[in-house]
């Protein structure tokens, strides 16, 4: 059974998670200095979120349709995203077996993975506050 019951749940969690990341400069500053616009596309339930770091100072987070042209796009099942934020995804393996698809100049985006890892700790409490569900 998928972790997220519908797109609303997925959107609520992802938005809140990225707002939490944006508020923590120790995590957000390396992402901002990349100046990338990254879009994550999710399936089952469907949804997309765009993280715009292009001005280098503020992270703009948009859930759903968004006109911005992303530099890098990542495609995955929503359950893969859930597992990723739980710290349970072996990213190299998922890139080899195709469970994660990366479109665009992947170098810069993949290089940010170590920077993003501290956010894994924040994920359970984001899920608890938004969905009232313990992990």
């Amino acid at each position: 059974m998928p972790f997220f019951n519908d797109s609303d749940e997925l959107g609520t969690v992802m938005r809140e998670l990225w707002v939490t990341i944006a508020d923590d400069s120790s995590i957000s500053s390396p992402l901002l200095s990349s100046k990338l616009i990254v879009r994550f596309h999710y399936k089952e339930p469907d949804g997309q979120i765009t993280i715009d770091c292009s001005d280098g100072e503020n992270m703009v987070i948009e859930w759903g349709d968004c006109e911005k042209q992303p530099v890098v796009e990542m495609f995955m099942q929503a359950d893969v995203a859930h597992k990723f934020w739980m710290g349970q995804v072996n990213v190299p393996m998922y890139l080899l077996n195709g469970k994660m698809v990366a479109k665009g100049p992947v170098n810069k985006a993949l290089a940010l993975l170590p920077a993003i890892k501290p956010a894994f700790k924040k994920y359970p409490s984001v899920v608890r506050t938004t969905l009232n569900r313990d992990l």
């Binding site: 072996n90 190299p92 890139l95 994660m100 698809v101 990366a102 100049p105 992947v106 993949l110 290089a111």
Partner: protein, 388 residues
């Protein structure tokens, strides 16, 4: 020992035989090749390396078009020109005869023929979902493993970066391994490309989260063939058995690394090559012993298994067996006259902003993600200093 989850693909049929390139037409019908684009480079054409392929196609009445303008380090312009030409001439398939640059170019041309010409929109990992046009690869070097790998890298001259394409659908349908195609390869290039293959084998062995018993056994056998045949092929280019050994080894190492990844040594070599245009295989070779030592704390067991399986170690503990293997790599390098230092291949003494920029390139190279040991900026700078 707990096994990793793994996935293993080898979508490419591999045919090995001396003179097999002269029978290429016999594979055409089976693969649906009606009118291929023959992709190669000028040097190979001048050395008459393509003759058996051309004769076979001509004798069988298979019409073909030619694109021989692939440069040593291929770029977007070259791919676009070749793809446009293939479209104009209504080619339905590709036959590529060459080293890594030719084979990578052919892969991306095939991508363009099927997905449209916007290369920037098609770069990335796993974005293809279906088979491309029929594609035969005939390697003329024993190094890159591109004839079986799922990746291709093409230079974007305007942005001074490489576009990376990765998908199992990029792999050729058939790789014809004909060691006679390697006979004109000079000793220096034989040595350097062979060390690229050895680096693929050793790094794929070390990729602790993605390697599998399948890639391990293939890597170790590739190493065995290279340790045995590379010195001979380098010393005497006409030694067909040695050519065959290195060629099969490089394909095996290609199968191994495309299924498990490469690591920090390739990341170091990619960054160094991007800034100073050093030869990929040579640069890998110089970083190889240093990278193995860096990874030793994570890879000691697997390196020791390889050393024992190759007959270099017996009852020594893992630590000693691992050191023996690294020593064997250094001996091999010496025996084929690979310079041990970066400074002798044109890499300058780096410091300040240049060193910082170089280390950023190393750390953002996708290969580093597969490395068993996490590397910091200080680590890669230390590796540079050791190799310099």
């Amino acid at each position: 020992m707990k096994l990793n989850s793994f996935i293993f693909n080898c979508p490419t049929r591999v045919m090995f035989a001396e003179q097999e390139s002269a029978s290429i037409a016999s594979y055409a019908e089976d693969l649906g090749i009606i009118k291929p684009l023959l992709v190669s480079d000028r040097g190979l054409v001048e050395n008459d390396v393509l003759r058996p392929v051309i004769e076979s196609l001509t004798d069988s009445g298979i019409p073909y078009e030619t694109f021989y303008d692939v440069p040593p380090d291929s770029d977007i312009d070259c791919v676009n020109k070749a793809a446009e030409f293939a479209r104009e001439k209504e080619c339905n398939s590709i036959i590529a005869v060459g080293g890594g640059s030719v084979l990578d170019t052919a892969k991306v041309v095939n991508l363009c023929l099927n997905q449209g010409s916007d290369l920037l929109a098609n770069q990335g990992l796993n974005i293809l979902h279906e088979k491309l046009s029929p594609f035969i690869a005939l390697p003329t070097t024993a190094g890159t493993g591109s004839e079986v790998s799922f990746v291709a890298a093409i230079k974007d001259l305007s942005e001074k970066r490489k576009l990376v394409f990765g998908s199992r659908f990029l792999a050729p349908d058939l790789a014809i391994l004909d060691p006679t195609l390697l006979l004109s390869l000079p000793g220096k290039l034989t040595a350097a490309t062979g060390m690229d293959a050895l680096t693929h084998a050793i790094e794929s062995l070390a990729c602790s989260v993605t390697q599998s018993p399948l890639t391990e056994i293939i890597s170790i056998e590739a190493m065995r063939l290279l340790f045995e045949h590379l010195p001979r092929a380098t010393r005497n280019g006409d030694d067909l058995d040695a050519r065959a050994g290195t060629l099969v080894a490089s394909t095996m190492a290609g199968i191994a690394f495309t299924n498990s990844g490469v690591g920090i040594i390739h990341a170091l070599a990619h960054a160094t090559g991007a800034l100073f245009k050093t030869h990929h295989g040579l640069t890998n070779a110089i970083f190889l012993p240093h990278g193995m030592r860096f990874n030793k704390q994570e890879s000691c067991q697997v390196f020791a298994r390889a050393a024992r399986s190759l007959g270099y170690a017996d009852r020594q503990n893992d630590d000693t067996a691992c050191d023996i293997l690294i020593g064997k790599v250094e001996e091999l390098m010496e025996s084929i006259s690979i310079p041990p230092r970066l400074r002798t291949i044109g890499v300058p003494a780096m410091e300040g902003e240049l060193l910082e920029h170089w280390s950023e390139l190393v750390l953002e190279d996708p290969s580093i993600m597969f490395n068993p040991r996490y590397a910091t900026t200080e680590d890669v700078i230390d590796l540079y200093k050791r190799a310099y």
